[in-house]
Symmetry: C2
DNA sequence: TGCCTTTGTCAACAGGCGTTGGCAGATGGG
DNA sequence: CCCATCTGCCAACGCCTGTTGACAAAGGCA
C-alpha cells in the first residue's frame, strides 16, 4: 500500500506543513475559530487535503494538541530551587524556546471545547501530577492542582488574555515572583 | 414610543428570561458554542425575538457579560486577612452566591473571543487594579496582575477545566491555601 | 513506452449559523 | 367598540462550515 522509505517523501512534507499551520492557527484562534479553509490556506493547499491527510478536523486538532512537557526531574534540582526550575521550564515552553507547541493549542481551546479540556486534564494526570508526587509534601495531587492552577493562571493572563501588566513583566521577574509562590506550595514554611 | 411605566411589562419579563438563558448557556458553552437558537429555546421563545430584544448576538453577549465585582474595601479589613477576604469574595461569586453572574460568562469565552477578552481586561483595569492599588506594596499594577493571575487560574482549573483535584478541594481549604499565597503577594515578607 | 499510484484541484453537498421581514393574535388606551 | 401598538411565530435569506467524490497532472516502476 504505502511506500515504506526512510527518506521524507513529498507527502511527509505537506503533512508537516498542514500540521504547522494548524498549530499556529489553533493556538491563535482556538478550535472553532480556526477553520479548515484557514489552515489549508496557510499551508498553501486545498481544504480537502486536510481531511485526506488527517481524517477530519477533530483528528487534526488531536494531533496538533499532542505534547510531552518533558518536565525536569526535580530530584536533580536543589530543594530550594524547585519553584524556580518549574517556572523556567514553563516559561521556555510558552516563549516557544522548547519545541513543545501543543500547550498553547490546548489551553486556547480548553474553555470552549471538551476535546481540548480533556487533553489538558490528561496532561495534568499523566505528566504534572506524577512529576510533583515524588517531591510534594501533603496531599500530592492537591499540591499538584494548586501548582497547575498557578502556572495555568499565569499563562492564561500573559499569553492568552494578554493582561497588560502581566505581559509587561520580564521573564526574570516572573521566575522570582511566581517561583517563590510555587516554592511555598511545594515546601510550606 | 415605548411605554414608560414602573410596573414590569410582559416585555420586561421575556427580556429577562432571554438574558437569564443567555447567561447560563454562554457560561456553559462559550460565545460561539451557545447559538441564538439554543438561547431562544431555553427561554421558550422564537430566535428572532432574541435579535429584536437585544439587537444581535454580540449585544446580547455584551449585556450578559456585564458585571460589577463589588470588591470589598480592603481598608475595612485587617491587614493580615486581605488574602482571605479576596478569596472568599471570589469563591462566593463562582459558587453563585453573590448574584454576580457575568464572570463565568466572560472567562469561558475570553480565550477564543476578543469581545470577552476585552471585557475581562476592562474588569481588571476598572475594578481589580484600583481596589488593590490602595493597599499593594511595590508596583501596584504588577501586584494586581499577579493576584488576578492566581485567582483566574484557580477559577479556570476549578470551574472551567474542572481539574479533579482542584474541584475536590473544599471552600475552606481554598481560602486557606490560596489566601496565604495572595496574602504573600500583597504583603511580602 | 505504458501504467498505476500518488498529490493535488475543483465544484458541490448538506447542515448550521445569525439575521430579516411579513403576518397573526393579543392587549390596552381613547 | 376601535384602532394602534406590542408580542410573538414562521419561513426564508445569504453565508460559512466540514466533508465528499470526480477528475487532472506528476512520477516512479515494469
Amino acid at each position: 500500500m504505502t511506500r515504506r522509505k526512510s527518506r521524507p517523501t513529498k507527502s511527509d512534507r505537506t503533512r508537516e506543513a498542514i500540521l504547522a499551520a494548524a498549530r499556529t492557527l489553533f493556538a491563535e484562534k482556538g478550535y472553532e475559530g480556526a477553520t479548515v479553509r484557514d489552515i489549508a490556506g496557510a499551508a498553501n493547499i486545498d481544504p480537502s487535503m486536510v481531511i485526506r491527510y488527517f481524517g477530519g478536523k477533530e483528528a487534526l486538532f488531536a494531533q496538533a494538541a499532542e505534547l510531552n512537557l518533558r518536565l525536569p526531574d526535580l530530584k536533580n534540582v536543589p530543594e530550594d530551587r524547585w519553584g524556580e526550575a518549574l517556572v523556567r521550564h514553563f516559561l521556555a515552553i510558552w516563549e516557544g524556546e522548547s519545541g513543545i507547541n501543543g500547550l498553547p493549542v490546548a489551553l486556547r481551546s480548553a474553555a470552549s471545547n471538551e476535546l481540548a479540556a480533556e487533553r489538558l486534564r490528561g496532561i495534568f494526570t499523566d505528566q504534572v501530577a506524577p512529576a510533583l508526587a515524588k517531591v510534594a509534601a501533603g496531599g500530592p495531587s492537591t499540591t499538584a492542582g494548586l501548582v497547575s492552577s498557578q502556572l495555568l493562571g499565569l499563562a492564561f493572563c500573559r499569553y492568552v488574555l494578554k493582561l497588560p501588566p502581566v505581559v509587561a513583566l520580564s521573564s526574570e521577574q516572573i521566575v522570582v515572583e511566581v517561583g517563590r509562590v510555587i516554592q511555598g506550595l511545594l515546601k510550606p514554611g
